[in-house]
């Protein structure tokens, strides 16, 4: 066969095409995919969000009832005083909305108690400062914690403008009734930070968070980026405010006042 420039270029083109295809074919045939997948029943969202209707849910007793359910579900220890660990709690108007203080506020609004929890911000400052990536933002917008990786430096607690994180100063199991544990969920250990996780373990099974389920309609939960979700429906119809909007973390817990 005569070797001229034309045949050489043809051969080179075929070889180049082969090289381009080969690596992909090798990867496809080796079965290099993850053996884990998302639960079939799991709920999906782009950004989970919650609306708290403070016209319905505003007494300390009612909020404490929800907190008890939350804390029982997640084996959150009960510790009195400064070393307290909390996932869901309540506080006054002045502490909840310090930027929206107003000396002539409706008395009734001023005297309500406000349910507080992790805001699962769209732009979470805690995630930015965590040196070990123990706290991170999931694809569905939940700000989650990997307690295996937390070194207890508490940068996230300093960064969180809402005080949503608690540090386990002592052995958290000492603050638990060991006969009434939820055996489906772990406890935490000494020296890690913990917080509300929007019930990721329940969402993975297609259930609403425990507090939403127990709230009798005072809490709405859903995808912030789905116009048909219960959260968006409420946000469309009612006037809502968020905590400390000026710090720019874009909290995803909204309050109907």
């Amino acid at each position: 066969m005569k070797n001229n420039r034309r045949t050489f270029i043809k051969l080179a083109a075929v070889a180049a095409a082969g090289l381009a295809v080969a690596p992909k074919a090798a990867v496809a045939s080796s079965g290099g995919h993850s053996p884990a997948k998302v639960n079939a029943k799991a709920e999906h969202a782009k950004q989970w969000a919650m609306v708290v209707d403070t016209t319905k849910l505003h007494s300390a007793e009612e909020i404490n009832k929800l907190a008890e359910i939350c804390h029982k579900t997640h084996n959150v220890p009960h510790i009195e005083g400064k070393k307290e660990v909390k996932w869901l709690w309540h506080d006054t108007y002045a502490h909840t909305f310090p930027e929206q203080e107003n000396p002539h506020l409706a008395e009734e609004v001023h005297h309500r108690d406000y349910m507080l929890l992790c805001n699962h911000c769209e732009n979470p400052s805690c995630v930015r400062v965590c040196p070990t990536k123990a706290t991170f933002k999931r694809a569905d917008g939940i700000v989650a914690m990997d307690y295996h990786r937390c070194i207890g430096c508490r940068y996230c607690m300093a960064a969180c403008p809402y005080g949503s994180r608690s540090f386990n100063w002592g052995e958290p199991r000492h603050g638990l009734d060991l006969s009434k544990l939820n055996p489906e969920f772990p406890t935490r250990m000494r020296g890690v930070v913990e917080k509300c996780n929007f019930c990721v373990e329940r969402l993975a099974e297609g259930k609403d968070p425990a507090c939403v389920e127990a709230s009798e309609g005072a809490l709405a939960f859903g995808d912030l980026y789905d116009p048909e979700s219960p959260v968006r429906k409420v946000l469309r119809e009612r006037f809502t405010i968020r905590r400390k909007p000026s710090v720019g973390t874009e909290p995803c817990v909204y309050y109907i006042i």
């Binding site: 993850s34 053996p35 884990a36 997948k37 998302v38 639960n39 079939a40 799991a42 084996n75 991170f136 999931r138 694809a139 569905d140 989650a144 990997d146 307690y147 295996h148 199991r173 060991l178 006969s179 544990l181 055996p183 489906e184 969920f185 772990p186 406890t187 935490r188 250990m189 990721v200 993975a204």
Partner: protein, 129 residues
């Protein structure tokens, strides 16, 4: 040539070497053959998530991957080599069959001298005391 303090030195050496070899000559600590611990296997179930050999050799890697799948990737269903599906959870899957930490996990871990910190947070099926 004469050795100073020859007798005490020799006697000391003999005693020292004797003590050094004593475990081999007398004791059973060194010569006894290692016996594998007898773990208590689940009564109802025959097959684990993967084969026995795989689990024996790789359960630590598997559990390590599981925790990242579930917690960080949000993937809570595991598909094994046979294509069977399992919920990724130490407490709700593993410990449902292996319903005794003392009779299963601890047996080997004690022999191997390892103390994994799983149980600092996870609740063993026996409950906490």
């Amino acid at each position: 040539m004469r050795m100073h303090y020859g007798f005490p030195i020799m006697a000391g050496l003999v005693i020292f070497i004797g003590l050094l070899c004593a475990p081999f000559a007398l004791g059973t600590a060194v010569t006894k053959e290692y016996k594998q611990p007898e773990v208590k296997l689940p009564a109802g179930e025959k097959e684990c998530v993967e084969s026995t050999q795989f689990m024996r050799e790789n359960h630590m890697q598997l559990l390590n991957e599981w925790r990242d799948y579930a917690l960080r990737d949000g993937k809570r269903t595991y598909v094994n080599h046979q294509g069977k599906e399992f919920t990724i959870s130490l407490q709700r899957t593993c410990m449902k069959c292996h319903n005794s930490k003392a009779d299963f996990c601890d047996k080997c871990h004690n022999d191997a001298g390892v103390t994994p910190y799983c149980w600092d947070c996870h609740i063993q099926p026996e409950g906490l005391k």
